[in-house]
């Protein structure tokens, strides 16, 4: 059978007549003549070691579905794992908007051609600024750990100091990212990260140790998280800010923005910079791909904006009275403007998630955030109390938490790994295993209960645990 030329549906000009017409126009007989630009010694002459194509879309769809069937989702199992990537309910209206072809497929078009994208960004920044109680919000980038590291570098540039104090309960994963950004000691732009002691009963920062570490007067910033990675509410934010400022250091708050309907925002505490992740604000977890880190700051002193490494957008006016436009602000500051002389670097990061978060904040409104906060607190405390009632189970760091809490299984003589493996048989994903990250907490797991989980889900978890621990 004579071979019919195969025309791939993603490559229109593969049609032989079209290709020939274009080659004719160029006076060429084949594209090979263009590839003569690559010298023979650098040409790849083999065949790529890639399977033959699955041609029909239906067949490829079925192949993909077959692979994905080997994933078990957090809709199929009950999921109680959070640890920085949380399962909150995503309203359908959020997905409807971010699935719009215009938003999905747009890139770095200009402020006129992509006017709507620019306005959506500004609105995202505006609403996040309201939650945080801060005037300056930058365009988010990779994730919380990355923006924590960038905030440290920003503080170092602003103060001219090279040491940052960080709460000892900081998520070790976020700390690892920040350490990569702050470099080893031999590098000239190294920023030293020192951990501050914490109270083993409450999780809160040890203020005496903070005072001692600030005494040398060489600290660029103090960083704390609220809620802490281990779930507890840090009640000393105001004290931390005060101590930092007295020592000439900046105060950087790491926050989960979904808590800010009920918890004091970093701006009200006097924080200079805030960072965190917008994933909880209407973005699916995507195995961590839903994460996106934000940086916000005071804007009563231009130095914060000038040292911010991320893209900034400002509201402006057009030739038409009453019409808004949104434009990039101080662009020369970024690596796009000034290459290696810019502030760190920017790049393609997580634009679509900012639009998701904008829609989320708009539908939630102040009342939605308030109610969601109350539900998270109520249900997580209910779960913690029920779990603590099981023999051999203790809930740690208890004086106040938002949605996460550490559960210790030492008394039951079980490791977290064992517990979680057995919970899978009950179609449950257990909490994040903390035993390697915080060995001082023994065999403990960080459980997460949000508005997504109702009372029946919690009862199911507790019953399963009871069986697993028996």
């Amino acid at each position: 059978m004579a071979e019919k030329p195969f025309i791939h549906p993603y490559i229109p000009n593969a049609v032989p007549a079209t290709k020939q017409a274009m080659l004719r126009e160029l006076g060429l007989s084949s594209v090979e003549e263009i590839y003569a630009e690559i010298p023979d010694r650098l040409r790849f002459k083999g065949r790529l070691d890639i399977p033959e194509p699955i041609l029909a879309e239906r067949d490829l769809r079925r192949h993909m579905a077959g692979l994905l069937a080997r994933n078990t989702s957090a809709q199929e199992f009950l999921n109680f794992c959070g640890a920085g990537c949380w399962q909150h309910y995503v309203p359908a209206v959020v997905d409807e908007v971010i699935n719009r072809a215009e938003f999905v497929s747009a890139y770095c078009g200009g402020m006129y051609s992509d006017h709507g994208k620019y306005v959506a960004r500004f609105e995202f920044n505006s609403m996040l600024g309201e939650l945080l109680d801060l005037d300056g919000v930058a365009n988010p980038i990779y994730d919380w750990g990355d923006v924590a590291g960038r905030s440290f570098r920003m503080a170092s540039r602003i103060t001219g100091r090279k040491r940052v104090l960080v709460c000892g309960t900081m998520s070790p994963m976020r700390l690892a990212e920040a350490r990569t950004l702050c470099q080893p000691e031999v590098m000239p732009t190294h920023v030293q990260i020192d951990l501050v002691e914490w109270d083993r009963a409450s999780g809160r920062l040890d203020l005496a140790d903070l005072r001692a570490k600030l005494a040398a007067g060489d600290v660029a910033a103090v960083y704390w998280e609220n809620p802490g990675y281990l779930g507890f509410i840090e009640t000393q934010g105001g004290d931390i800010v005060k101590l930092a400022h007295e020592a000439g250091a900046l105060a950087i708050a790491g926050v989960d923005p979904i808590t800010l309907g009920v918890l004091t925002p970093p701006g009200a505490l006097g924080a200079d910079i805030a960072c965190g992740d917008i994933q909880p604000l209407g973005v699916h977890m995507h195995a961590g791909g839903g994460c996106s880190g934000f940086i916000a700051f005071r804007d009563d002193d231009p130095v914060f904006a000038q040292e911010c490494p991320l893209e900034l957008y400002t509201l402006g006016e057009s030739e038409v009275a009453g019409e808004w436009v949104v434009a990039e602000a101080i662009p020369d500051r970024t690596s796009y403007g000034s290459r290696d002389q810019g502030k760190d670097w920017v790049g393609t990061a997580s634009g679509l998630w900012t639009i998701a978060a904008a829609v989320y904040m708009a539908v939630m409104g102040p009342q939605g955030f308030r109610e969601l906060g109350e539900t998270c607190i109520a249900r997580s405390h209910y779960a913690a109390q029920r779990m603590a009632a099981l023999p051999g189970v203790k809930v740690l760091l208890t004086p106040g938490f938002f949605k996460e809490f550490a559960v210790n299984f030492d008394g039951a003589g079980k490791s977290v790994a064992e517990v979680n493996a057995k919970l899978l048989d009950h179609a449950i994903f257990g909490g994040k295993d903390l035993s390697a990250e915080f060995p001082e907490l023994g065999q403990s797991a960080l459980f997460c209960v949000t508005e997504y989980h109702d009372q029946a889900d919690i009862v199911e978890l507790v019953a399963a645990l009871e069986e697993v621990l028996a």
């Binding site: 274009m22 263009i34 790849f44 719009r100 300056g136 977890m285 997580s350 708009a362 109350e374 209910y382």
Partner: protein, 542 residues
């Protein structure tokens, strides 16, 4: 007997008519959607609700008491956030209007966005990415419940190894620049392990390489040396040699560079580095022209990266989420970030046991949605299809090049007589000199024809009045003809009626900005509505 094919003559006549319309200057009578939409905060009506959230059950509340009251007093929010209050339909309509005021690639012609490889992102991939089997996965789920995803990531890694010739891969970076940053960190760890970090502190790049090739090694703590082009547009080999010394860590460069010119001596640059015991990385954000034709490892490079949102079809999503794939040789593999995906042939697992690793550049696993899409895309094309992608991209680019060089005021600096691969950096210097209309004016004007405003150049502008289209395999011959016709039209306007070009866009979703100075003025810039109220409205009221 097969059915009769459609009449070729008739098809040719229709095509001729369409061409006539375009070549006769009858371009689209386009006007962007313009809603004059107020900001969402201006539409707020106190008391309206966009979505109701679950409230804790009575039994739960009985057991735990008042949740708000349980928060330590000093940590309770006292003033509610001043967020908009709107019903769900009003929120939906607002954001749909904003989407319509965005000329995404699916609607416009993103040939304009050179260096970005704006190719078609198959919709089937989106359907899968949005399914709960991808979207509702927790990164710390037990590996046994992520086997499908891990297998996809592992297999895609194998394909990219074949495409690049490298031996190891990570998909942790959250974008192309992030992968380039990862390289700077990996090279840093390599020399730290050899005890040479205090001696080796210089990274070499070229001015036509992406800004991240200069910025990210600087963040990693290196001094950056930037090599300028020679008269042919290649990085000056003599200047490059002179820059290499016992202080050199390596290079971070692209090939082809933004000019689209393939550097035929690229292996010589690598040799110079290797002779100095330094390392070589090539930034392959734009690999579309070389897929299956040239491999980074074959030119001697120790590491490279790909942007899965460019070459491998992930949609750009208003600038992310994106995925950077970073690949390297055995020499650099010990330093890759953790975790890596491993396979024993049947099961897939995450390997954290890598004592020399740089640690992390990103949390969790990375943006693996992009890996899934890349996998599906590669599987739809196979080895011959990938080469065809490259071949047609290069053909498209050269065809468009021919059309554009026929336009008054357009020139193509450097390497006369050499063809470009995937893209070209042109200059409108002549147009500017002849008419006063420069590249920024053209950039704003083309929007009036339903074409995305083009990418001019990264900074600094080495090529005067630059623009950089990239007509990848997605675009049809008609698309290319239309794009060139728009540039020709604007050039004609510049010669006949420069004022029209200079006051554009006139048919976009908003009018021209009148107070551009706010972008640099601390007293006026407003990154949020609350800042606008304080700085601008507050002052007006006084």
């Amino acid at each position: 007997m097969s059915p009769t094919p459609p009449n070729d003559d008739a098809h040719e006549k229709v095509a001729r008519l369409a061409r006539y319309r375009r070549e006769g200057g009858v371009l689209r009578d386009y006007h962007a959607v313009r809603w004059n939409e107020p900001l969402i905060v201006e539409q707020s009506v106190p008391g309206e609700r966009g979505v109701l959230v679950p409230l804790a059950e009575a039994e739960v509340l009985d057991e735990v008491g008042d949740p708000y009251g349980s928060i330590p007093e000093c940590t309770r929010r006292e003033t509610m956030p001043d967020l908009p209050e709107l019903s769900q339909y009003q929120v939906l309509r607002h954001f749909l209007r904003l989407s319509q005021e965005t000329l995404g690639m699916d609607l416009g012609s993103d040939i304009s966005e050179g260096t970005c490889t704006m190719k078609y992102s198959p919709k089937m991939h989106e359907e899968l990415v949005r399914s709960h089997k991808m979207a509702d996965l927790h990164p710390w789920q037990d590996e046994s419940t992520l086997q499908g995803l891990l297998e996809i990531v592992w297999r895609t890694g194998e394909y990219l190894k074949s495409i690049s010739g490298m031996g190891h891969v990570t998909f942790q970076p959250g974008g192309g620049s992030h992968a380039v940053y990862t390289n700077a960190c990996v090279m840093r760890a390599y020399f730290a392990a050899k005890g040479e970090l205090s001696q080796r502190n210089e990274m070499i790049t070229t001015i036509f390489s992406h800004p991240c090739d200069a910025a990210t090694p600087a963040v990693a703590g290196f001094k950056v040396i930037t090599v300028m082009p020679d008269e042919n547009g290649y990085p000056d080999l003599e200047a490059f040699k002179a820059a290499v010394s016992e202080r050199t860590v390596g290079c971070m460069i692209t090939n082809p560079e933004d000019t689209g010119i393939y550097n035929p001596q690229i292996d010589k640059y690598v040799e110079v580095l290797h002779d100095a015991s330094a390392l070589a990385f090539t930034d392959q954000a734009n690999a579309n022209g070389i897929l299956g034709f040239a491999r980074a490892r074959d030119a001697g490079f120790d590491a490279c990266h790909f942007n899965l949102h460019k070459t491998f079809s992930s949609p750009h999503g208003c600038e992310g989420p994106a995925t950077g794939a970073y690949l390297c040789t055995d020499t650099l593999a010990p330093y890759l970030p953790v975790p890596l995906v491993k396979s024993d042939g049947e099961e897939y697992h995450l390997d954290y046991d890598r004592p020399q690793s740089i640690g992390r550049v990103r949390g969790y696993l990375g943006n693996w949605m992009g890996v899934m899409r890349a996998y599906a895309w590669i599987r739809s094309l196979g080895p011959d299809g990938l080469r065809e992608v490259a071949e047609i991209s290069v053909l498209n680019n050269n065809y468009l090049d021919r059309l554009l060089l026929a336009v008054r005021g357009v020139s193509r600096p450097y390497a006369e007589g050499h063809r470009r691969l995937d893209q070209v950096r042109y200059s409108l210097e002549a147009l500017k000199e002849d008419t006063g209309v420069g590249t920024e004016d053209v950039h704003d004007r083309m929007v009036d024809f339903g074409i995305q405003s083009y990418w001019m150049s990264h900074h600094p502008w080495v090529v005067p009045e630059p623009f950089t289209p990239e007509p990848c395999e997605t675009y049809s011959k008609d698309d290319l003809d239309e794009w060139a016709a728009v540039i020709k039209k604007v050039s004609d306007e510049a010669h006949d009626d420069a004022a029209t070009v200079k006051k554009s866009p006139q048919r976009s979703s908003c009018a021209r900005m009148t107070n551009a100075e706010v972008a640099e003025d601390p007293n006026q810039w407003a990154f949020t509505w609350r800042a606008y109220k304080r700085k601008v409205l507050g002052r007006k009221e006084k």
